[in-house]
């Protein structure tokens, strides 16, 4: 998302960053609000309007059953975001618990957790994700568990490193000698140091989760076919691409890309805003 402004409108980096975050958030909000203005009726089949190309009546065209692709895309995206949210929240929670445990519970815990992190990082996400969601029988539950159990390692490692770094900082040792109890130090010194890292790690996990959800669903191992998920839409439309119905895959795919990029942009920009020294 590299918007450039030329001519009269000149903004500094901070203003541009905030503008970009605003645009990305606006886009995401539009999809969430759009979802509530649609119901099952708006993706009902209408056999008299099959295979229509994009028009003002149907922005993204209609499919082989006459369903409005625009409505299906919006519903699919909001479903994907729901899955992404559930997956990213649980994954971030796992990362927080394991990262803190590794940094504070002594050497054995650290060795075990670091080994676990390396183990998960050494296998491609998608493979573990497919395995887990297949083992749990697919569907919403399978996908969310799969995402939660596969996306935590890199954030856990960041949290572990951050805690270890701040724990050995001079000012924390001094705080101990000033007579501050450990809980006070955790609340006043360590947690404020972690929050930005954690929030940004969480935000950047989001687009990953959405993309992986779509990928697994596309492969037929995720959400069930009657749900209007982006992965389902894309895999169904594959059959019709050769008959020239390009809009079935093009618009949903483009929207998915935009949503993922928006989340990514928000996370990246916030990281730059919060931690300008480490760009």
């Amino acid at each position: 998302m590299n918007l450039s402004f030329k001519g009269k409108l000149s903004l500094n980096r901070r203003q541009r960053t905030i503008l970009e975050i605003g645009a990305a958030l606006g886009f995401i909000m539009a999809i969430i609000i759009g979802r509530f203005m649609l119901d099952e009726g708006s993706i009902g089949t209408n056999l008299s309007e099959r295979n229509l190309p994009p028009s003002f009546e149907h922005f993204f065209g209609t499919d082989w059953l006459g369903r409005d692709m625009f409505a299906r895309t919006i519903m699919g995206l909001s479903l994907s975001m729901g899955v992404g949210l559930a997956g990213a929240v649980s994954s971030a929670a796992i990362a927080l618990v394991l990262g803190l445990a590794a940094a504070t519970l002594g050497k054995t815990a650290d060795t075990i957790i670091s080994w676990l992190i390396d183990l998960f990082l050494s296998v491609p996400h998608l493979v573990t994700l497919i395995l887990i969601s297949f083992a749990l029988g697919g569907g919403f539950k399978g996908i969310v568990f799969g995402i939660a159990l596969t996306h935590w390692p890199s954030l856990a490692r960041v949290i572990r490193a951050e805690v270890m770094q701040v724990r050995s900082a001079d000012y924390v040792h001094i705080s101990r000698k000033m007579g501050k109890p450990r809980t006070w130090i955790a609340i006043h010194h360590i947690i404020p140091h972690l929050i930005p890292q954690f929030l940004i790690g969480f935000l950047l996990m989001f687009p990953h989760a959405i993309l992986h959800e779509a990928a697994v669903t596309f492969l037929g191992l995720g959400l069930s076919p009657h749900e209007p998920a982006i992965g389902i839409i894309l895999s169904e439309s594959m059959k019709y691409l050769s008959s020239g119905l390009w809009w079935l895959a093009f618009f949903p795919g483009l929207s998915l890309l935009l949503v993922v990029r928006s989340f990514d942009a928000v996370g990246e920009r916030l990281r730059v805003l919060m931690d300008p020294a480490r760009t």
């Binding site: 000012y171 001094i174 109890p181």
Partner: protein, 197 residues
């Protein structure tokens, strides 16, 4: 209450002994200099006295009793690098109050301005930060102050200002000071006696 170090020995990991059998004691109100070439363990000895490291041999006592593990440590140390000794996310006012509220007279003598309290550490210079570290270490519970190259990075005027404030307070409270420095002239000005490591 006198500060005693009896038969102190220390080494890092399995490396050779940094020092062994160190004995020395300090009276309240006494200003003692500690000198020695680089790498002879001056800073490590300071860290042991201030409770940041545990001696592998011997012990440090204050008035005959072992130093407390928790709670305010009566032997406070001022580090050489103030920018590492303050939380970069805290306003200086909060950092200053960490060891209890220091008295306004001390702040004035150290030249700490009221407006600095609302600033973040990266908005102050090294010398300004060091004043805060000194003020913080001089909480009401401090019996001995360990000044490990406390003013090495400061100009002569600031050095004089800080040492005047510290010595004034030490006299008032009968507080002992251990001065570690490479500056022989400074040591001669400040110290009642100088020991070599």
């Amino acid at each position: 209450m006198q500060l005693d170090a009896k038969n102190i020995g220390f080494r890092y990991g399995k490396s050779p002994w940094l020092f062994k059998g160190i004995n020395f004691s300090m009276q309240p109100g006494e200003v003692v200099g500690l000198k020695g070439p680089s790498g002879t363990g001056k800073t490590t000895l300071c860290r042991i006295l201030a409770g940041y490291e545990k001696p592998l041999e011997g012990k440090v006592t204050l008035g005959g009793k072992a130093l407390p593990e928790i709670g305010y440590h009566p032997v406070q140390m001022v580090f050489q690098h103030p920018e590492k000794a303050v939380n970069p996310r805290w306003k200086m006012g909060k950092t200053l109050k960490e060891g209890g509220r220091p008295d306004d007279d001390l702040l004035a003598r150290l030249g700490i301005q009221q407006e600095w309290l609302e600033r973040l550490p990266n908005e102050l210079s090294g010398g300004e930060l060091q004043r805060f570290c000194v003020a913080r270490a001089l909480g009401p519970g401090t019996r001995f102050l360990i000044a490990d190259e406390m003013t090495t990075m400061l100009d002569a005027i600031t050095q004089a200002q800080i040492w005047h404030a510290v010595l004034h307070l030490a006299e008032k409270r009968k507080m002992g000071i251990l001065v570690v420095s490479h500056d022989a002239k400074l040591m001669n000005r400040l110290c009642d006696r100088v020991i070599e490591l």
